[in-house]
């Protein structure tokens, strides 16, 4: 199960982002553990300056603004076999 953290001080965009991720996970039947991180020191600890930020399994994948749904779906999808995503092919 993926652990998803939404980093943000509780602004409207952060709520929207958390809801968007939850909705897409629901729609795709993917079970995730969704957490909201509002502590400023923790947010900055991830190196994120612009909220909302998104952390998947401990890795920052997004910062600044509401992500679009295609991106979210990409994060939630099970990792492609053999980690073949490094050649810039996809």
């Amino acid at each position: 199960m993926k652990n998803v953290k939404v980093l943000g001080s509780g602004c409207a965009n952060c709520e929207t982002t958390a809801k968007l991720i939850a909705d897409i996970a629901d729609a795709k039947g993917i079970r995730i553990e969704l957490e909201k991180v509002t502590d400023m020191a923790a947010i900055l600890g991830y190196g994120v300056m612009t909220t909302p930020g998104v952390v998947i399994d401990g890795k920052v994948v997004h910062a600044g603004g509401v992500p679009d749904s295609a991106k979210v779906a990409g994060w939630l999808a099970p990792a492609a076999g053999g980690g073949g995503c490094c050649g810039g092919c996809c």
């Binding site: 952060c14 900055l44 190196g47 300056m49 612009t50 890795k59 910062a63």
Partner: protein, 318 residues
């Protein structure tokens, strides 16, 4: 062309007559709404495309370890084009400082980013013409540069809250930002229009509606007594009045434009607008988390003084 179209709609199609209160108000509304909306969409779109070139992380890297002076000028300029949302003001502030951007330079950015924004510029351009928009741009940048310089010179680093100075900022994440193609850049423009224009259009239309009412019904020169040039206290009063207000330029500017037609002075009006945007109470509350009261007071005082100066200069020159 929009002028003719609005006149045709008002006086021929709807059948109102020129010179009546209602006729003038409706004509004003039908002329202003499409003109201002078109300009707003165009400017916001271009700014969205610009955002695909400049991220806060990149701006931070440019500003790191820049000396006061040059750094302040760059910070104020980058404040216009860097994507910025006031809800990120605190992490951005700390992120800049921890990467070695001087305090005064960081303030120049934080003052310029909300004040000299594309919505305000587009509306000024649409409602008042390019000269006023250019003046606002230059004076807004000047306020941001000078206020940042003053704060930097005062050496107030020890007036940051303790937790800010002790913070451990993580390394900037690698988001794998490969260079976007032109299609992605245009996409940024479109989504920026959706976000910004989608949010401000009801305010804009309400503002123009109120402005149209003032244009049609309020007697000429009524405002001259309250907001006219002769009243020296009008500028400080406008700045004070702007602090508790936290609105967007979209709702206020059309009303100001209508008031100008009734004898209000432009400098007073612009000072009011800058104050509403740059000195908002909610933002002070947010910044209080990272700044001790003395630094907040200096920040508010310096920016307020700068805005008043702008108001007086405008009133004197125009």
């Amino acid at each position: 062309m929009l002028d003719a179209l609005a006149a045709w709609l008002t006086f021929d199609l709807i059948g109102l007559s020129r010179g009546t209160h209602l006729g003038e108000a409706v004509w004003f509304f039908l002329y202003d709404v499409p003109k201002v909306l078109l300009l707003l969409v165009a400017v916001v779109f271009l700014m969205g495309v610009a955002h695909s070139y400049i991220s806060p992380e990149r701006t931070r890297a440019w500003l790191a370890n820049k000396p006061l002076g040059l750094g302040n000028v760059m910070a104020a300029g980058l404040g216009i084009v860097t994507p910025f949302c006031s809800c990120s003001a605190v992490p951005l502030f700390i992120g800049f400082l921890s990467a070695g951007v001087p305090l005064g330079v960081t303030f120049s950015f934080l003052i310029s980013a909300p004040m000299v924004n594309e919505v305000a510029l587009a509306l000024l351009f649409g409602l008042f013409g390019w000269k006023v928009a250019a003046l606002y741009l230059v004076l807004g940048l000047s306020v941001a540069i000078v206020a940042g310089l003053v704060i930097g010179r005062l050496g107030m680093e020890h007036h940051l809250e303790d937790w800010v100075r002790n913070i451990q900022m993580g390394a900037a994440p690698d988001l794998g930002d490969e260079k976007p193609g032109w299609r992605a850049r245009l996409g940024r423009g479109v989504s920026h229009v959706r976000e910004i224009v989608g949010r401000v259009w009801p305010w804009l239309i309400a503002g123009i509606g109120i402005g149209a009412g003032i244009h049609g019904y309020v007697p000429q020169d009524l405002m001259a007594g309250i907001m006219g040039k002769e009243r020296w206290w009008a500028v400080p009063a406008a700045v004070l009045l702007g602090v508790p207000m936290y609105s967007n330029a979209a709702g206020i500017l059309p009303v100001i434009q209508a008031l100008l037609g009734k004898g209000a002075a432009l400098g007073t009006a612009l000072a009011f607008m800058m104050s509403v945007i740059a000195l908002s109470l909610p933002e002070m509350v947010i910044l209080r988390k990272v700044l001790k009261p003395a630094l907040i007071a200096v920040f508010a005082g310096v920016v307020a003084a700068g805005i008043m100066l702008v108001g007086f200069v405008f009133n004197a020159v125009l």
